[in-house]
Structures are given as structure tokens and as C-alpha cells.
């Protein structure tokens, strides 16, 4: 029997804001029947662009229902920017804690909120804030968990092993084929945490010495930038251009909606670099130049 807090049980027994809104401003759907949990979140904004109302529907266990219920309460009255800063940890804290094995239920709440906000920005034809873009690799195919979700969880909670990752994100809880990849992500993150790199703001150019020449990589980099990265950014009103390649440093400039986005640096480091490393070479470093 899980040791649920009274608050979890209260929100499970008396869920707030169940249902869907007519003509919602944003709709987010995550999970699936196969996953064992799914959540649909809808919200409506008022004239001041604050969340006036929110509703949820959840297929899932007691803590999934409670997480969804409390999330709708938490976001009401908030601006989208304020709502976007809610983490899954905040959701769990608001419930007076969740069992370790159930942390993924709060992650699902956070993801549904993200999806609903992206839906809102897209409907409006606005650029999606870079903080919401999570274009990355699916690591766990059983539960459709992306690399960034796993990385975020490992960094945030300083997770040490695969079991912990599974409890927090569900990743690796199915066929176990991704365990090797998850271990790799954990190792990467732990290395970063130990070296202090994770703490440091990513604002400087990383010095790389003794690099091999560009070779045919220029073309490969250009192709990935154009085909995968720029195309995705453009759907959200942004764009990216290649300035130059110096050794292993890929210098790029962000334009459009991305140019004015304060979190573009994170986008560059997190996603663009990830894509280039995956498709071209593991040792590439992305540098953003003059806006």
C-alpha cells in the first residue's frame, strides 16, 4: 500500500476541476492507454492573459489524478510565464510529497501543462518560447520518454541509478532495452555535476584545442541545421543561420522569434548541439554569435 499524504487522498477523493472547457485557449494531451496513464489539460485565459479556468481529465492511478487536480488549482490566476515556471517538483511539494515510485505522475502534469501552452502559442501563430521546445530523442519507446526529460530529472534530483530514473520518469520501466542509454545519460550528467559544469552558466566560449580540420563536416552541419533544426524553429517563428565553423566550434546566429528569447542560449546548448552531436559528430560545440 502506498503511503499517500492526506492531501493526495483528498485530491483523489474530491478532485477539483474535472472535465473539459468549451473553446479552450490551450489543450495539452500526454500519455496513452498503453502507458497506463494519460492526461488532458485545458485552460482559458482572461483579458489580462491570466489563466482564468483550467480543467483536467486523467486516466491513471490515485497520484496521477491528485497531481492533475492540484495542478489545475496551482495554475489558476497565473500568467502563462508564471505557469511555465511550475516544475513537477512544485506539484509534488504542493501535494505534501509523492512516493518515490510515483514521481512520474507529477512529471506527466508538468508535461501536459507544457503541451497546453505550446498549443496556445501555436494557435495564435506566436513563436513558442524556447523553454517549451523539447525536440529531442526518444530514449524509452515503451513509455515515450525523451532524452531531455531524463536529463532534467537526473540533474534536478541528482539521480544515481536507472531505478531512480524509472521512478521519476517511467523511462526504462518496460522492456528494459533502453537501460544502456539511460545509464549513459546518468553518467554524462554525473560527470557534469562533479566537474561543476552543470552549475556554471553557459555563457562563455569553450576552449577546444588540437582540433582536426573541418573535412566534409561543413556540409553535414549545414544539412542538419537546414533540414532538422531551422525547419523546427521556423514553425515557431524563429530561425537559425550558420556563421562559420572553427575547428569543432559551430558558430550560429539565432534570428526571428528566437533572437529576442532570453532562453535561446539554453536552446542552443541543449538542443541544437544535441542534434549536431547526434547527426554529425560527438565533439561539436555550438557557439551563438552576435544578435
Amino acid at each position: 500500500m502506498w503511503d499517500y499524504s492526506d492531501k493526495v487522498l483528498d485530491h483523489f477523493m474530491n478532485p477539483r476541476n474535472v472535465g473539459t472547457l468549451e473553446d479552450p485557449d490551450g489543450v495539452g494531451e500526454v500519455g496513452s492507454m498503453a502507458c497506463g496513464d494519460a492526461l488532458r489539460l485545458t485552460f482559458k485565459l482572461d483579458a489580462d492573459e491570466r489563466i482564468a479556468d483550467a480543467r483536467f481529465q486523467t486516466f491513471g492511478c490515485g497520484s496521477a489524478i491528485a497531481s492533475s487536480s492540484i495542478l489545475t488549482e496551482m495554475i489558476k490566476g497565473k500568467t502563462l510565464e508564471e505557469a511555465a515556471s511550475i516544475t513537477n517538483e512544485d506539484i509534488a511539494r504542493e501535494l505534501d510529497g509523492l512516493p518515490r515510485e510515483k514521481m512520474h505522475c507529477s512529471v506527466m502534469g508538468r508535461e501536459a501543462l507544457e503541451a497546453a501552452m505550446i498549443d496556445y502559442y501555436k494557435k495564435l501563430g506566436k513563436g513558442v518560447p524556447c523553454t517549451l521546445i523539447k525536440q529531442d530523442v526518444e530514449i524509452c519507446h515503451c513509455f515515450q520518454v525523451n532524452k531531455s526529460t531524463i536529463r532534467d530529472a537526473v540533474m534536478q534530483y541528482q539521480l544515481k541509478d536507472i531505478e531512480d530514473v524509472t521512478h521519476h520518469t517511467k523511462a526504462g520501466g518496460g522492456c528494459t532495452q533502453c537501460h544502456h542509454d539511460i545509464q549513459h545519460i546518468i553518467d554524462e550528467c554525473l560527470e557534469k555535476i562533479e566537474s561543476g559544469e552543470a552549475e556554471a552558466p553557459q555563457d562563455g566560449v569553450v576552449q577546444i584545442s588540437g582540433l582536426p580540420g573541418n573535412g566534409g563536416r561543413l556540409e553535414q552541419v549545414r544539412e542538419v541545421l537546414e533540414n532538422d533544426i531551422a525547419r523546427a524553429l521556423r514553425t515557431d517563428g524563429g530561425d537559425i543561420e550558420l556563421v562559420e565553423i572553427r575547428g569543432n566550434e559551430v558558430h550560429v546566429r539565432l534570428t526571428g522569434a528566437c533572437a529576442s528569447c532570453p532562453s535561446s542560449q539554453a536552446t542552443i546548448k541543449g538542443w541544437v548541439e544535441g542534434q549536431l552531436r547526434e547527426h554529425v559528430s560527438e565533439d561539436l560545440e555550438v557557439i551563438e554569435v552576435g544578435r
Binding site: 487522498l9 483523489f12 477523493m13 474530491n14 478532485p15 477539483r16 474535472v18 473539459t20 494531451e29 500519455g31 496513452s32 492507454m33 498503453a34 497506463g36 496513464d37 494519460a38 492526461l39 488532458r40 481529465q57 486523467t58 486516466f59 491513471g60 492511478c61 490515485g62 496521477a64 489524478i65 515510485e101 510515483k102 515503451c142 513509455f143 524509472t166 517511467k170 520501466g173 518496460g174
Partner: protein, 405 residues
Amino acid sequence: MSAMDLFEDLPERPAGGVYLDNNATTAVAPEVREVLLPYLTSHYGNPSSMHGFGADAGRAVDRARDQVTALIAAESPSEVVFTGGGSESDNLAIVGTLRAYPDRKHIVSTVVEHPAVLGLCRELESRHGYEVTYLPVDARGGLDLDELRAAIRPDTAVVSIMAANNETGVVFPYERIGEIVKAAGAVYHVDAVQAVGKLPMDMSASTIDLLSLSGHKLHACKGVGALYVRRGTKLRPLIVGGHQERGRRAGTENVPGLAALGEACELAGRHMDEERTRVRELRDRLETRIVDAVPDCRVNGDPDHRLPNTSNISFDYIEGEGILLLLDRFGIGASSGSACTSGSLEPSHVLKAMGIPFISAHGSVRFSLSRYTTEEEIDYTAAVIPRIVDRLRTITPFSEQRQTF
């Protein structure tokens, strides 16, 4: 949405709650408790000791062995080896056989076994170089005996197949299986933890070489079980040390536990007919009422070959843990094959093996009755279930459009 409306106009809650999780564990029978207690107080001797204290304890162990022997109609009490429970019995049966036949490196089992057998088989495969063939089951949870015939090889040491499934209650044709196994020359182990006490067992006219049973599934206490070992069956011990259990299981006997197991077996024998009549009728009554009252639900398993006390029902579009949490609020204890209840993320391996779709597997609930279950409890449960399912279906995104995701 408030919880209050859930509780309106409900029949009165039976005193002490409603326990419908007897396949997980059972209440210790009052008669069993009475027999057990003196061995915790005045009769505390070691059966191996040369004095009156020891002799009292020794007599209790002998009596318990006779009682177990009688329940499964074994030919001799010497065929009963006491263990620390069902899992140990399974481990002793399988590993003990493999050690007795060191040249045989193959095992046959099924995909729906209890973790006690499945987990062991996986361990033997991955770390000890054994090969295991897991027989599949059909949609009703049944085996294809031709597949069994084809699976047994000259180097098959042991075929380990359960008598009855703990989740669905599906009963395998264990004597027909045994004929095939014996004809092929392998040792035949049956995990009968769920069957003993609910179905009559007759080892004197059986093909079974090794049979596991557990005390706490038949109203004895936890931490005690037995392995029936047919006379002449080669078996190496797992726990080595003293001479107890004729060298097949070392360690000072759990005298109170064994006294309890013996008494529980005797009681089970006396109540066997009740399982097949009154308990079955109550189970059927619960099942019929639920199926009549709740749309989109189904009974899992084989209605023609099932334990009389077990019902496994899937409620589509909702998730099992929520059902159990709500049932608990009504004082009803049941269990679920849903992923969330176990802490694993996969729904029941048994339902998955039967090809039950995710939409149903996550919302499965197992009700398992005992001879202590009353009609009042069943009627109360049957009244509660439709409300709970209704409530959860108003929360799920699936029931509204049924194809949303």
C-alpha cells in the same frame, strides 16, 4: 467533485470490512490459532532434543506432517518436506532437481507462472547457463498441450507448471500435463500454492513428482509451506546443515508454524465441499451482479476451468489503483493487475500473455473469496463497484470519446 455522493444510500458496511484478497493471503483460522499458541508458550522445545520439551514439539511436527499428507492424499508422510513457504518450495523443487541432474540444462515452464517460478527461471537462464522454454497461453489463459509435447527435450530436467493461476484462477489440466511430462522422461513440478485447499488433490493417483503448497494461502500463518516429493524422486537440498527433514531441508523446524499448517490442512479438507458449493455460488453472484450493472467490463480467464473462489474482472477505460483506493475507502480489500499498484510500470504479465488489451488490463481487479466470505459482504461489494467505476469514468479522458488519444 465531492466524495460525499459516493457514499449515499449504500447498504450498511459489514463490520470489520470486506476481505476479498484471499489469493494474496488469508486470515488465520481461529482453530488454527488455538493449535499454534501453545508452541509459542509452553511447548517451546526443539524437536531434536532428548527430553520431554523436545518430544512435545516433535509430536507436533509429526502430526502436522500426517495432516498435510492426508490433505493431498500422499502415500507416506515421508514424502512431505516442510519449508519456509511457497517460494522456497518452488526453489527447492526446481533447483534441487537441476542439481540432481547436472547434465540436463533445459527447463519447461509457462509465461503465466507466479514470480516465485518466473523469477527463478530468469535467474537460471541469465546467470547459470540454463535454457528455459516458456509456454504461451491463449486468450482464456489455457495451454496448448501439443506445444508442451514439442517443448520437452531429452535434456529437459524439470517441467514446472502451476496448478491454478493466482491472478485469474485458471486451472491447468495438471494430470494430463503430467502424463505428457512423464512419457517424455522429465521431472514434473506443480506449483499448487493456489490450488491446495481449494481443489481436491490426490498424490496417490497422480503424475506429479513435486508439489508446492503454502500455509498462509489456506488459513495458516505466513512463513511456512511444504514440498511434496514423490518417493524415489531425486532431489538435492538447497539449505544444508542439520539432519532435519531427512536431510532435504536443514534448520530447526518452525514448530508453531508447522502445527498451524497441519491444522489448516485438516480444516481445508473438511471444508473442501464448501469451496465447491457455497464459495463458488458467492463468487458467481458477485460476478453476475457486477457484469449486469457495469457496462464495458469483462471477466478474464476460463469460466469452465477456474478456482471456485477467484474472479478477475476488467473495467475498461479506468485504472486499477484508483479502483482499489476507492474500494479501500469503502472497507473492501481486493487486488489489481494494474501497473501502478505494484510499483512496476507494466500491467500484469498474466493478462498481457492472454492478449488482454491495455485498455482492459490496466483496469483489472481480482476478487478472491474464502470460506469466511458472507453473502452480506458480496452484496455490499456488488453495490459499491458500479459507483466506483462510474466515478473514475467521469474523470478519465477515454470514456467520453473512447478514442481520444
